[in-house]
Symmetry: C3
Subunit: 141 residues, 3 copies
């Protein structure tokens, strides 16, 4: 059993920015040479999150709209009143969606559905280069 | 350390259908003979999700109702306007709930609480036979 | 590859109580002596959940407020009508947030962001001593 951990950087726009990272994580998996096991993804920060979705512009907009209803940008946040960062909604959204995701690896491939992509979401109220921890655990043959 | 990966099929009704899969995954765990480690569950599709809940018909209805408030079926979705699938709400719900779950395995058993069951949720707007990836990682003794 | 599983107990107040458990899980990681791998956390119960957040009193209040909007305490729940527990909202909230979290371990440390803490959330409608399963998988050197 091998554990390989790497840190990737992802350029994101002001939130809510939903970025397709399937190609990026596929590339890390290929380099790891792990054939059977799991990939663990983690956002080391409190205004980003991970999930999977069909990466189609309509549904991406629908997800952003749902998140806006869930934790609207234009209501008062205690965080903003205290710190003036203006990103209280970003923190709440990230905590609700969650920072971690894992995906089984079978025959050297991520076991995603045909119309399922892995996405990194930047909720922060500014464009950011963000870090993502990519870990692959498993057997090479 | 052993990794065993299997694919199960689950018959689901039109969404929101919340299915108790505790017995199914227990059976896979017993067959794996893994005693210490973790079970990783993953939905390879973008209109299904996993979580845990007390599988009691009242609270199952309450969860379905909360999800209906979170991403209502009867509002416009860009996905539907573009593709006509009518399942924009299904995609949004699945992305918010998430496709992955892991549960520690201790003494050959899933470490669930007494009133806690594992559920697969079909959000799609039709009945479907759905796939679930069941992975067990750990030691046999 | 080593797997170490322990059970911690956490004193929580009536929900929504969001408790910073970063120090607790750091201590378990140090004792495990695992240097490379992952920590898996799991709530064995159906009215508790895990996530990460910047543990600052403003944003903690903001998260509690968002959860109150998501599954309000003062609407009817079928669970309560059937069982009279009064904690239907607690079950729904826990199922939406999710019981599991994993965090990569790099150089013997959790790979959290600078302003990111691990939190246990008690949603139940009473103060409880709650259990948390802490699992560390990986290599000691």
């Amino acid at each position: 059993m091998t554990v390989i951990t790497e840190i990737a950087e992802i350029d994101t726009k002001i939130g809510t920015d939903i970025v397709d990272i399937t190609g990026l994580v596929d590339q890390h998996l290929a380099q790891s040479q792990i054939k059977r096991g799991a990939m663990i993804l983690f956002v080391p920060g409190s205004t980003g999150a991970l999930t999977t979705i069909e990466y189609e512009s309509g549904v991406i907009q629908d997800l952003a709209d749902a998140i806006e209803r869930l934790a609207p940008r234009d209501i008062p946040y205690a965080h903003d009143q205290r710190w003036g960062d203006g990103n209280g909604h970003s923190h709440v959204r990230a905590a609700l969606l969650g920072p971690s995701l894992h995906i089984p690896v079978v025959d050297g491939r991520l076991s995603l559905g045909t119309w399922q992509q892995v996405v990194f979401i930047n909720f922060d109220n500014k464009a950011r280069r963000r870090r993502l921890i990519i870990q692959v655990m498993g057997e090479k043959e």
